[in-house]
């Protein structure tokens, strides 16, 4: 039978890597889109409490984070251990700095979207309500009424 030639042993063929760059680029674009560069490092303990009634904030550039918590260990020598408010990349010495911070944040955003800005209070679960209500009062004074208490999802019972 000459029609069926005996297969010559060529060894295992190598896997083509021609599509590898495409796959990698696909992943790359996904991460480029999903990435949000954090512009400030967090300087306070910010272990947010758990809750069930969570709402997801959609527009990340319209979220104004306000961190409240005990300063991290390396800042405690300078800033003490009582809870502090962190605005941007520095500690607020006085709650009245929030007004300036909100104005600065609004200046970067088109005026039509000012009503959609959310102040996201990322409070540590060990802080007391006093400092939070000070922040809330300042936000109310400056007209920033949309607030989101940042929280982690809690598994439902």
């Amino acid at each position: 039978m000459s029609r069926f030639k005996k297969k010559t042993d060529k060894g295992t063929p190598g896997i083509s890597t021609a599509s590898l760059p495409d796959i990698v680029f696909m992943l790359l674009f996904f991460f480029m889109v999903a990435t949000k560069m954090r512009d400030a490092s967090i300087m306070v303990k910010s272990n947010v409490p758990q809750a069930t009634e969570l709402v997801k904030l959609e527009h990340k550039n319209l979220v104004m984070p306000i961190f409240i918590g005990q300063p991290l260990k390396r800042y405690q020598a300078v800033y003490g251990t009582s809870p502090r408010v962190q605005l941007g990349d520095k500690f607020a010495d006085d709650p009245s700095e929030i007004a300036f911070f909100v104005q600065k944040f609004r200046a970067k955003i088109p005026e039509a979207q000012h009503g959609m800005i959310f102040a996201s209070i990322k409070g540590d679960k060990d802080i007391t309500c006093g400092i939070v209500s000070d922040v809330k009062t300042e936000l109310r004074k400056v007209g920033q009424l949309k607030v989101n208490y940042s929280a982690k999802p809690r598994p439902k019972k």
């Binding site: 997801k56 979220v63 959310f118 409070g123 309500c129 007209g143 208490y149």
Partner: protein, 183 residues
Amino acid sequence: MARNKREVSEVNASSMADIAFLLLVFFLVTTTLNPDKGITVKLPPWTEDQAQDETKMKKRNIFSVLVNANNELLVRGEPADVDNLRERAKEFIANPSHRPDLAESPNKAIITLKNDRGTKYETYIKVYNELKAAYRELWDEESQRLYGVPYSEDMPIAQKKKIRSKYPFVLSEAEPTAYGEEE
């Protein structure tokens, strides 16, 4: 000319994958995939006159919740537990058995929340979450009854409005009292 006849040599693209990998690793490391989630509230506008006139309202329409600096609850003047707060709030708002001491109708019901400056933030969020959950469950039930689907933010606006006008979310927060603040 002989020069023009020469074929254009292709760019060697074998290192493209390496470059892409490098960028990929960079973005992998810097990515923080933490969606901003939390409990959304709308604060009341600031007014100089902070006095709230509760005397005009009937006592049966007010569901007062107090949280003190020791994280203890006082609901309508009696000590309570956070675990059955949701059930009590639901019963108060809907008042299915028309009891004379609970709200006249859901849109007259008012929940007031007051806390000390020394109340733990975690407790405060827990209480707020339970009160919000009470309303969400009522909306869910109403939505199931009317449209056969659970309440969600993606529902048509007209349906959402109808449900929300039956059970309007009214939660008034008083200025905290200055007890138990640690300095």
